[in-house]
Symmetry: C2
Subunit: 198 residues, 2 copies
DNA sequence: CCTACCGATCGGTAGG
DNA sequence: CCTACCGATCGGTAGG
């Protein structure tokens, strides 16, 4: 059963890096030391492999969700904690962000369904929290809760997916670490400043 | 010469919608009413067609740039004008945004070079403007100018590229027009509120 | 601008 | 898990 996971890991890396169509079963198979017909024993078709990769990503996400919500529910710094958790989830492996970007671009209808089932319930919760903040005067009244949440998700996912590309704009000798720090800090600042009343 | 432009337009649409690898010369050719060998008379290879498509996009951008800078240089509402111009450029044809996203994902090194030559000089100007605003107390001192500009570009490009995907999160019966309005308004608000001092 | 055709490579199958 | 092999399709060429 370990070979199955090796295939999934290799496929995730390749799909994220070069896209589903540009990745061949041969290179995935030989990346884990087998031939492509052997790969097709574990996953009957290339598309089944793609769906399995996506499923694993989403199940990971479902594991993290409760922790995220606990963080949001309790005490202060709710915003900071949720935002940090979200950034951490994608930062832990940027392939997740890249894979999502590719799916959004290549199969918008399919990803729409996944959004409806996996993130819509969650965004509703966050939107309620934002509206409560607006009623209490902590959150700017001009905020459009749903649109705001979408923009923040956009910001996090695409920042991670395109990190390496914009290093040259930031520093003369961009180190992955420094670029990541500056981008994350600014991302959180932008999200925070456009939400809370001062 | 008009057929060349037809090919470019068709290729732009297809590359933006399904990606370079997933698009065949046959479908582009027959989209403009010719056979694929005839297409290869106008563009010797598929990769030459890709580069021509990208070049056309960038030359369009270079035409818009001066107007953008004039808008920024004169009078008040500098921020509002530049931001509006940028949004308008991509909104005029979302394929531009989708194409850029795909290139960033598929050929990061190549797009890095284009960024260095086509957007780095421009971001420097904007960053100078931001720093001047910070010195005068109009702009929040916590803003990291370079990182801020990158995040705003991210926000604009990816908002346009993924517009249709997130309609379901916004409204029960999402119309393209309404979704676009809400997303754009919130995008500009987020950018504005995280920049200026109040 | 076309038809005819090329080698290479793709995802997938047969059979062991 | 392998070798051997399949039809389909790809980008590209020859020749007119």
């Amino acid at each position: 059963m370990v070979i199955r996971d090796q295939i999934l890991a290799e496929a995730t890396r390749r799909f994220a890096a070069r896209g589903f169509d540009a990745t061949t079963l041969k290179e995935i198979a030989e990346g884990v030391g087998i031939r492509s017909p052997s790969l097709l024993y574990h996953f009957k078709t290339k598309d089944e492999l793609r769906r399995a990769v996506l499923e694993k990503l989403l199940s990971h996400w479902n594991d993290v969700l409760p922790r995220l919500l606990r963080a949001a529910a309790s005490g202060e710094d709710q915003f900071e904690r949720v935002a940090q958790e979200m950034v951490a989830f994608f930062a832990a492996s940027p392939d997740r962000a890249r894979l999502l970007v590719r799916e959004v671009m290549d199969r918008p209808e399919e990803i729409q369904a996944l959004i409806a089932s996996h993130v819509l319930p969650w965004t509703r919760l966050v939107c309620d929290y934002i509206r409560k903040g607006q009623a209490e005067g902590d959150v700017q009244s001009e905020v459009d809760p749903e649109a705001y949440v979408i923009q923040v998700i956009n910001l996090v996912v695409f920042s991670v997916a395109t990190l390496d590309c914009f290093g040259a704009l930031l520093e003369d000798q961009p180190s992955h670490e420094r670029v990541w720090q500056r981008q994350t800090a600014e991302l959180l600042r932008v999200a925070r400043q456009s939400l809370f009343e001062r």
